[in-house]
């Protein structure tokens, strides 16, 4: 049994390394931002990181200098100074002002993230153990009536054998679903997020959106994606045993392709009954 286990780990590791090489870029930072909000977050993080690094290098530069030069073994004698009110005040006040400097752009970004008014499209997102459902509630302007009423479930599509067996892992292992959320590009999409059972969280790193799904309550968030493409996220709140297996995929299409897709959904659901999962038609889906 141990042998099988080790074999499995070995095969898994080998496969993973190979596919790791396929993604040759090691990922050190936040994902490529695809919305203005995500871009602001990315830049905010960079600024804060740089400030922290500068302070870190300064402080520990001094500490390591001390470690080298103020050693007993090189004969350094201990000075006996201690207590200095001026210095204490300086290193209390200066960090305080640095923090204010950080808080200002952070406040601006936060206020923008909270503004869900005047959306072009409203979608209700419901978290279940262990999948998502998407219901298109309302479009505005040239989206009016286009996708209203479309509803389907979105479940992990990675085959069981890839997870538990030794089948080779697909390109979007654990980040693929049968029916992705489809939205038009460059439109403000408001998502109303709730849950059916326990807490979940809807997270799209590329959009800078993460919102807890609280059973019995709705929470709203919004995004406006700048480029067509396929974007992937995951559930971000422990929700039971398949928490790691309920990803989110958002396909962003040009307006016309979105309208075509929506029309297909409506025909399919009219044919197949209200609550069944819509046919996974994503015609014209651009390459990732």
């Amino acid at each position: 049994m141990i042998k099988t286990l080790l074999q499995k780990i070995g095969v898994g590791a080998a496969l993973a390394l190979v596919s790791g090489l396929v993604w040759a870029q090691a990922r050190y930072n936040l994902q490529q931002p695809q919305t203005e909000v995500a871009r602001q977050i990315y830049d905010l993080h960079t600024i804060i990181l740089v400030i922290c690094l500068v302070i870190f290098v300064g402080v520990f530069g001094m500490m390591f200098y001390s470690v080298v030069r103020h050693r007993k073994s090189v004969g350094h004698q201990a000075a006996q100074f201690h207590e200095n009110a001026t210095v204490e005040i300086i290193w209390t006040v200066v960090p305080f002002f640095i923090l204010i400097g950080m808080a200002w752009p952070a406040t601006k970004s936060l206020l923008e993230m909270k503004d869900t008014s005047s959306p072009d499209l409203t979608v209700k997102v419901t978290g279940y153990q262990w999948k998502w459902s998407y219901e298109y509630l309302k479009g505005e302007g040239d989206l009016s009536g286009v996708a209203d009423g479309v509803m389907f479930y979105s479940t992990l599509a990675t085959p069981h054998d890839q997870i538990y067996g030794s089948a080779a892992k697909g390109e979007n292992y654990l980040l693929e679903v049968d029916n992705p959320l489809v939205v038009p590009v460059d439109k403000k999409v408001r998502v109303l997020i709730t849950a059916n059972d326990v807490l979940h969280a809807w997270w799209m790193p590329a959009f800078g959106v993460k919102q807890d799904a609280v059973p019995g309550f709705i929470r709203d968030a919004w995004f406006r994606v700048e480029k067509p493409g396929t974007y992937r996220g995951q559930c971000a709140e422990l929700c039971g045993k398949e928490h790691g297996f309920m990803p989110i995929v958002v396909v962003v299409l040009e307006q016309k392709e979105f309208a075509d897709w929506a029309a297909k959904q409506k025909t399919a659901s009219a044919a197949g009954g209200a609550q069944t999962a819509a046919a996974a038609g994503t015609a014209g889906q651009p390459a990732k």
Binding site: S117, S118, T122, K138, I218, R219, D220
Partner: protein, 189 residues
């Protein structure tokens, strides 16, 4: 005071603090409710007095969307009869929701409202709502129920899209008496 008595004094004081903090933990429950009410995140559901200022604000329109959820153990279909309306703040609005009990038994449920954005909740004045009490539906019954409300003129100007969402939860036990007050945290729910 001798040493042992001095020690005992501190012991007792600290024990009182510990017990007090346990009580404080429980007091967070009504405190949280109160704060949610005051900030409008979550309202105790009872009929509001008609708002003092009923002048309609013609200068702006607010898009109201209606959402319906049921917990999966409820054998109902629950939907708003209109998905959205555009209203003026101060205007009296009535919308209808419909429930169809698809099972072959009487089932009771309680609707819980929620607002997106949450801040809009404190500007909703409900005069009549099926969420004020538990609703019982006979087997196979289809019924439409109103929500009558006014959005207060104080709604912040940068909020012009509001979603009113209801989630119906099953209420256990034999058909409960009508008009059970909400916020009642005793058993059965």
């Amino acid at each position: 005071m001798n040493r042992a008595a001095a020690n005992r004094t501190i012991l007792i004081k600290l024990l009182v603090v510990a017990v007090g903090m346990f009580g404080f933990g429980y007091s967070l429950v009504p405190l949280y409710q109160k704060i949610c009410e005051v900030t409008g995140i979550y309202e105790v559901e009872k009929a509001s007095a008609a708002p003092a200022n009923t002048q309609v604000d013609e200068s702006r329109l607010v898009t109201l969307e209606f959402d319906a959820n049921i917990r999966s153990d409820l054998p109902w279909r629950f939907r708003p009869l209109q998905t959205s309306v555009k209203v003026h703040p101060g205007q009296l609005v009535q919308v209808m929701y419909e429930v169809h009990n698809r099972s072959d038994q009487a089932v009771a449920g309680q609707a819980i409202p929620s607002y997106g954005p949450q801040v809009a909740g404190q500007y909703f004045r409900k005069l009549d709502c099926f969420c004020f009490s538990t609703q019982t539906f006979a087997a196979g019954e289809v019924r439409q129920m109103p929500v009558v409300f006014v959005i207060e003129r104080g709604l912040p100007r940068d909020v012009n899209t509001v979603t009113l969402s209801y989630t119906f939860f099953k209420v256990e036990g034999a058909a409960p008496s009508a008009a059970r007050p909400r916020g009642d945290r005793s058993a059965a729910g």
